[in-house]
Assembly symmetry: D2
Homo-oligomer: 284 residues x 4
Amino acid sequence: MASGTAILLVSCPDQKGLVAKIANFIYANGGNILHADQHRDPEAGLFLSRIEWDLAGFNLPQEIIGPAFNAIAQPLGATWQLHFSNLVPRLSIWVSHQDHCLLDLLWRHQAGELAATIPLIVSNHPHLQGIAEQFGIAFHHIPITKVTKVAQEQHQLALLKEYEVDLVVLAKYMQVLSPNFLGEFNQVINIHHSFLPAFMGANPYQRAYQRGVKIIGATAHYVTSELDEGPIIEQDVVRISHRDDVKELIRKGKDVERMVLARAVRLHLQHRTLICGNRTVVFA
Amino acid sequence: MASGTAILLVSCPDQKGLVAKIANFIYANGGNILHADQHRDPEAGLFLSRIEWDLAGFNLPQEIIGPAFNAIAQPLGATWQLHFSNLVPRLSIWVSHQDHCLLDLLWRHQAGELAATIPLIVSNHPHLQGIAEQFGIAFHHIPITKVTKVAQEQHQLALLKEYEVDLVVLAKYMQVLSPNFLGEFNQVINIHHSFLPAFMGANPYQRAYQRGVKIIGATAHYVTSELDEGPIIEQDVVRISHRDDVKELIRKGKDVERMVLARAVRLHLQHRTLICGNRTVVFA
Amino acid sequence: MASGTAILLVSCPDQKGLVAKIANFIYANGGNILHADQHRDPEAGLFLSRIEWDLAGFNLPQEIIGPAFNAIAQPLGATWQLHFSNLVPRLSIWVSHQDHCLLDLLWRHQAGELAATIPLIVSNHPHLQGIAEQFGIAFHHIPITKVTKVAQEQHQLALLKEYEVDLVVLAKYMQVLSPNFLGEFNQVINIHHSFLPAFMGANPYQRAYQRGVKIIGATAHYVTSELDEGPIIEQDVVRISHRDDVKELIRKGKDVERMVLARAVRLHLQHRTLICGNRTVVFA
Amino acid sequence: MASGTAILLVSCPDQKGLVAKIANFIYANGGNILHADQHRDPEAGLFLSRIEWDLAGFNLPQEIIGPAFNAIAQPLGATWQLHFSNLVPRLSIWVSHQDHCLLDLLWRHQAGELAATIPLIVSNHPHLQGIAEQFGIAFHHIPITKVTKVAQEQHQLALLKEYEVDLVVLAKYMQVLSPNFLGEFNQVINIHHSFLPAFMGANPYQRAYQRGVKIIGATAHYVTSELDEGPIIEQDVVRISHRDDVKELIRKGKDVERMVLARAVRLHLQHRTLICGNRTVVFA
């Protein structure tokens, strides 16, 4: 892991020679490929690829790799992202009342599971400030009402700029982000406490109980302007029975929520996710 | 298993002394309880119970047990069912094009997993007649169109009477049963090829693919007049990835469908299910 | 939950009238049964039961219930335990280097998932003292060497007495308890980082990697004097692939370990476990 | 799927330029890569790769591809296999008493899930001959005793030659193949009815019951001369409880066995498995 790999995520109209051209670019400059994964989406007519190589002994300086690869990507009609493992993403966690996803992410961060810096916690409630302090992270309490929402989102956007945030993780943040906000900042992962598309919107556990399902779940997805409709990164489920009331569903669900969210955030931070239409390709 | 147990399913307004009264009835008549399971539904204010006891050495003749228990049940305001393991239920399997659920149920029946007699297979298509013949089961091809549906359902109901069917299993039978049919015969289990309530109705795999879910599932439920809304007996899921196209979803889904349906049918045949509102209590 | 239920765990040679006699005892004294679950173990010839009833309106004072029930239990040859939800068990968590199980249990305790008091953390290493302080729990560092083990176990036993501990949870405590210790105190739950009986003993993840398994797991069990051989309470697994090296196995395993241990501890604290030979009956 | 792809499985000492050289070979000859997956095993120092490309428009005739690729592979020190989707492997299923894995494989074959021809069923018992006849497959009853084993294995090997078998699937074949047999024919997949390495050898369900595990499993692996020690292709598990006796474990286990075996056979037939030491790389 460490410092010292480059990761290229490429999405490109399918055609002959793609793997060869990308691999040649890396080989010609002295790179050793550590991981390579490809996917062909016949419906979209796209070839998607994730390639990670060792920067040790690579001939191109880091800032030249992008421009140099672009010369190859342009004629292929490819869109691409280039990431470096030594540039650690900056992550902001947003919460409301519940602390389980927040604590889980912070514990994993401490344990070295998440290659990120976490400079900022935002909440529309003041309750979790103590946790932020305990972990030495700035905490901003930004209450939201219908009236204040527009202004407060501007405040939030300003904070993201100030703290140079790359990714916002909605860790049970119970406010909907406006299309306007998402137009300004769209690197946002949310955890929804149901197995989407079942029980979109409010009170999924209550509704799961009423419906009498035998399994509940959680879904981590990229946030788009349509509520609970963004590209799904990860889902998981847990079995329940008639003995479980809504309170038990919430309790069991919390374990699934924090697992699913943590896996999704980790996949994103490792640059293993590519959005293709409203679906994700996960190079796991 | 064998022949020789009685199973009592009781649903009753919650009150003191219920377990004692039921257990005393069995003990007083010389019965040895083999399994007993209870559930209290605080929302419905109901106490639900399944008790199975050995008929060997039981003092009451089989035909007297019901009336005798009724004398206890009446003052409690209980509704109850009494089943005997030596009265084997008669099951009819209904299919359309796909054979996987049918074959799985027939194989399990042969393997002794399903305590039932299977005298009748019904299909709106002729294709699976060969399987029925191979297993020595009567096959009735009853095509359904909008025009013929009312008459054909009468035909179906007549067959259920003729073959003395206790339970109909819709093993990928792709026709909706009318409220009228269900008014005449309502012991029907269906397998729906999605994780309900996600993807109710038609083409769930196509829609799951479009939505980009990471897990698909199947749901076995009792059929009611509202499509895919009946009480759920059993569900299960299987993980998929971006590599799986709709064809793969269908293939993976078939395994979940047949497992889930078989488990639900077995639970029903063992009299382990009780409907409580639109939910099931499963005494597993 | 709250305060105010009695829980009876009964293990008894199978015979007619057991449910009736127990239920009558509760009914005769004005108790309302909230949950009742039974199991018959044909091999051991035992009938095992867990019954929980509301103490509100129960005629017997709490201290009389045991003696009164004993009069019924004696002639049946039953062994039994009586627990009260208002007597909160006292739990001690023992750790070595790793913090994930400890933190998870402490977080769940704070979240109200574990009906226990946690007065004492013991470790053979000093590293996790800070966590204990943060949660306001006494921390005792008791290093163990081959030479000091006998004396240190006496020290540990004295602490258990001093803190009136009912249950010890080995949350990745990497020392074996001696038969002598267990002779003095045997209410101990351990988490083993493999799917027992696979990979008993040391370095299970390393060995799982070498064997090339496709699934790893964790096992929570009661501790007996035979290493990793005690009655299993709970197990779970997680899928791995050839991409996962030992470090990844350890990372993925940690999530399974803390889930499995937490579930086992919760089941024990709710008095849902009964040991039957070297197996557990879990009235879940 | 169809007819018309080439699949290259390559295992090679890790070095720069591997992906480029393989991809260039395909591109230079006009091939379009459909799937490509790589894995680097740092411990073994190996780079492993599976590449599948469309033969439509590929410049090299099928019989030349191997020799041509060899010229590239040799200097890299690579070992490789080349497969063609239009050369359908020939599979022999071996059974003893139980029919569930056999029937499941045959049903999947009929449903188009297994790209293979199945010309031969071998059994050391006569019971399942009827199934072979029903599916129009040659059935050879070859009973084995300690005395006859050497001779009968020669008989079996002769049959494999006669029927030009590429893969033997031990679908609950309860005889151990001798090292001598495996020296002659080693493309053999076995299903073991436990979660290996737990419960190697005989009577795994009986022993799982005795141990009181809460989860049972099944393992599909390549057969080597050390019993139940070969490279694992696939495993899966199912949850059990104290209510499940050995008979129930067997029943639940059968579903896991047939799923796991079918998945392993399918992976092998799609040339998605590579053996690396005693582990498998599964390009799924």
